[in-house]
Assembly symmetry: C2
Homo-oligomer: 167 residues x 2
Amino acid sequence: MLQLKDLPDEKVLRKFAERYEDVDSRSVTHFLNILRISTELTEALDRFLATHGLLQGRWWVLILLMREENLTSTPSELAEKAGVTRATMSGLINGLLRDGLVARQDDNKDRRSYTIQLTIAGQNKLDEVMPDYYPRVKKMMSVIPMQQREDLLKQLLLLKEQSQVFD
Amino acid sequence: MLQLKDLPDEKVLRKFAERYEDVDSRSVTHFLNILRISTELTEALDRFLATHGLLQGRWWVLILLMREENLTSTPSELAEKAGVTRATMSGLINGLLRDGLVARQDDNKDRRSYTIQLTIAGQNKLDEVMPDYYPRVKKMMSVIPMQQREDLLKQLLLLKEQSQVFD
DNA sequence: TGACAATAGTTAGTCAGCTAACTAAAATGC
DNA sequence: GCATTTTAGTTAGCTGACTAACTATTGTCA
């Protein structure tokens, strides 16, 4: 994510515009500010999860498991839904196993595979975090009226589609 | 950052709302979408930098150095401006030293310290990347009219201020 | 049916973030 | 002027992201 604290001011942008052509100061400023603010929102969420002894990656795995009918899934499925590689999911699962928040059952049919299930402890952890999480999200989002929220999302979606300019 | 690919749909949110009170589906959906889209913008930037053999952390260090009058700074200053710890900056600088993009000079006055200077190779790297970067940013941002951009930033700033609800 | 391809998961190595503990040097203050 | 505190940077160990190479197993099909 964009860690940069010291965003370029007008003076810096002018200096760079001297050396490089086609520097649109406002575009650069807007783009960097969007990334910077997003980082800060993520960091706020991370800090919140940390107070409950969780990190984002592991929290998502627990939530993905809770979505399942029998609280069970496989490493591959979890990796795909979480948007990480299977290698990364291996590490996340190991951490959760160590903490006892998930349990492992070998698959009888496919001996390469196994399933991961949310344990009571894992469910308890979510029951501790989620009732604290939802009201905070609601409160935060409430500062923006609904119509503006829709507009905000619409513009961000436009940017996302346009982000192929970087490819 | 928010890696989660599989955002909750209405069905999932209803399921969670059964167990937890005060789940505002729209707030959660909006919040997660903002984080998700931001991640995708960052990933687009990362992919772009990767085509030039760079990663975000190192790129910012080079830019911070180029901003300086004599292309020189200290690890501590760089860490602060980049928004990372000095430990992290140690690692970034070592990578850049290995690649020859920055050079190190010991400080005569303070023997604990040293300065880091952008090398010709480092400047060349920026001269390769930046003229490719700026037009892309300009093109991407141009899909949103200026007034909407200002609104977008205003709303995001509101959210950022309100993100203290997570503390 | 037996070779080959595809799939599931792990391991090793890289990068980049963090904290905590450390060394060395400089600055402060009695 | 010496002890203490502060500062600069590094190191070690944790987390979590990646790729590439690996093992083991299952599936395919000639």
